[in-house]
Subunit: 124 residues, 4 copies
C-alpha cells in the first residue's frame, strides 16, 4: 500500500475568502490541502507559498504520520507567517516519502456554501 | 475498449457532511467514488479508508461488473464499518483490472446544493 | 500547436439532473464534455456510454473540426439513443487525432446553480 | 524548486457568464488561469483561444515573473481582442519554462456564487 503517490505537488490556485456567513468552523470560508500518506513512514512535508508581488514564503513544515491523512487548512498555518486573506497565492508541497494531495475550497461569503476541488499537480 | 484505466487510485479529500436540507436520496449530502470498468472482466475492487488519528479501515470489497459503471456512495458502505460523518478521510482504491475513478461530493447542508468533483489520482 | 492531447479519454462521473429551476438553455441542468481539437486535422470522435445495469451504448459519433472546440452537451446527443436523466453513467471518448477533454456539470435543481468540472482521465 | 511544471497546458472548458449579481470585482462572474512559475527564470507565456466556429485567436502574451504566481482573469485580457462573454471557448497555454496551470470559474449569475476548478491538462 505504501507505493502510491509522488513527492512533489503544486496547487496553482489559492485564495482564502476573508468573509464567511457562518461561525461554525466547518462552514467558515477556507482552503485545504488534503494530504494522504498511505505508506509506513511518516512524511516530512514542506510547503512553500507563492504570491503575485513578493518572494515566496516558507517552508511551512508539517508532518503527516504513516497511514494517516491530514486535511490541512491554509487558514491555520502561521509559521513562518499566516496566509493572507483575499489574496491570490499558489503552493508547492514537497515530501520525503510519496504522498497524494488534493486541493479544496469552501467559500461561504454568501449565505450558501460553494465548493471546488481538484487533485493537485504532481511530478515524480 | 478494455485497456483504458489504472489499477491503483487515491482520493486524498474525503468528508461526508452529517446534515442535509432534503430527504430526497439524490439530494442528501454524500460522497461518491464513480468507478468505471470499461473492460471485459469483472473488477474486484478493494477500498481502504485513511483517517487523521487512527489506523486505516478496510478493505471494503466491491465488484464492478465488466462494461459497467458504479457510482459508489461512501455513505452506503458499511463492511467492515460505516464511514463516519463530519470526519476527514482519504481513500485508496485498488482493482485487479484497469478502472477509472472520479470523486464527487454533493453538500446540501444549506438550502442549496454544492458540488465538487475531480478525477482521482492514479498510478500504474 | 497540433501535438497536445490524447486519443483516449474517460469520464467516470456522469449524471444529468432531470429537473431545472430555469428555462434559459444556459441554466438548464446539463453535463458537457468540452472537447478541444488544437490540431490541423478534423477529429472523428466516438463516445461510448456505460451504465450500472445494462450493456454500453454507442458509439455516438461527433466531429470536432481542426482548431476548434466543441462543448458537447450530453443532454443533446440522441443517436443511437438519448442519455437518460437522473441516471448514473460514465463515458469513454476516443478520437483519431489528439484532443483534450474536460467534464463539467451545471445543476440547477434548486434555485441556484451548482457547478463541477474536472479534466477527464486520459491515456496514450 | 525550479523543476516542477510543464511547458504546454490546455483548458478545454471555457465560458465567462455575461451576468453577475454583484459589483464587487471579487464576485463578478469570471474565469481564471492560475499560473505558477516556481522557477528562477521569468516565464514568457503565450495563450491561444479556440472557439466553436472561427479560427483561433492569439497569442495573448503574458509574463509570469520568476517565483511568482499570476491568477490571470480571462475577463481582463484584450490583446489581440477581448474574450467574448456567454461563449464557449478553450485555451492552450505555452511557456518557455516549466509552469503549473489551474483553471477556475466563479459564476454569480444568480444571487449565490458557484465555483469550479481543475488542474489543467499538461504535456511534456
Amino acid at each position: 500500500m505504501g507505493d502510491i503517490g509522488n513527492r512533489r505537488w503544486a496547487i496553482a490556485e489559492g485564495y482564502i475568502p476573508g468573509d464567511s456567513s457562518f461561525e461554525d468552523p466547518a462552514l467558515i470560508s477556507h482552503e485545504a490541502a488534503c494530504i494522504l500518506n498511505p505508506g509506513d513512514q511518516d512524511a516530512n512535508v514542506a510547503i512553500t507559498l507563492f504570491f503575485t508581488d513578493r518572494e515566496p514564503v516558507g517552508p511551512y513544515r508539517v508532518i503527516v504520520r504513516a497511514r494517516r491523512t491530514r486535511h490541512l487548512r491554509f487558514n491555520d498555518i502561521d509559521d513562518p507567517e499566516p496566509v493572507p486573506r483575499d489574496t491570490p497565492y499558489s503552493s508547492v508541497i514537497e515530501s520525503d516519502v510519496p504522498i497524494v494531495v488534493q486541493h479544496s475550497r469552501l467559500d461561504s461569503r454568501k449565505a450558501e456554501v460553494s465548493l471546488l476541488s481538484t487533485v493537485a499537480y504532481s511530478q515524480g
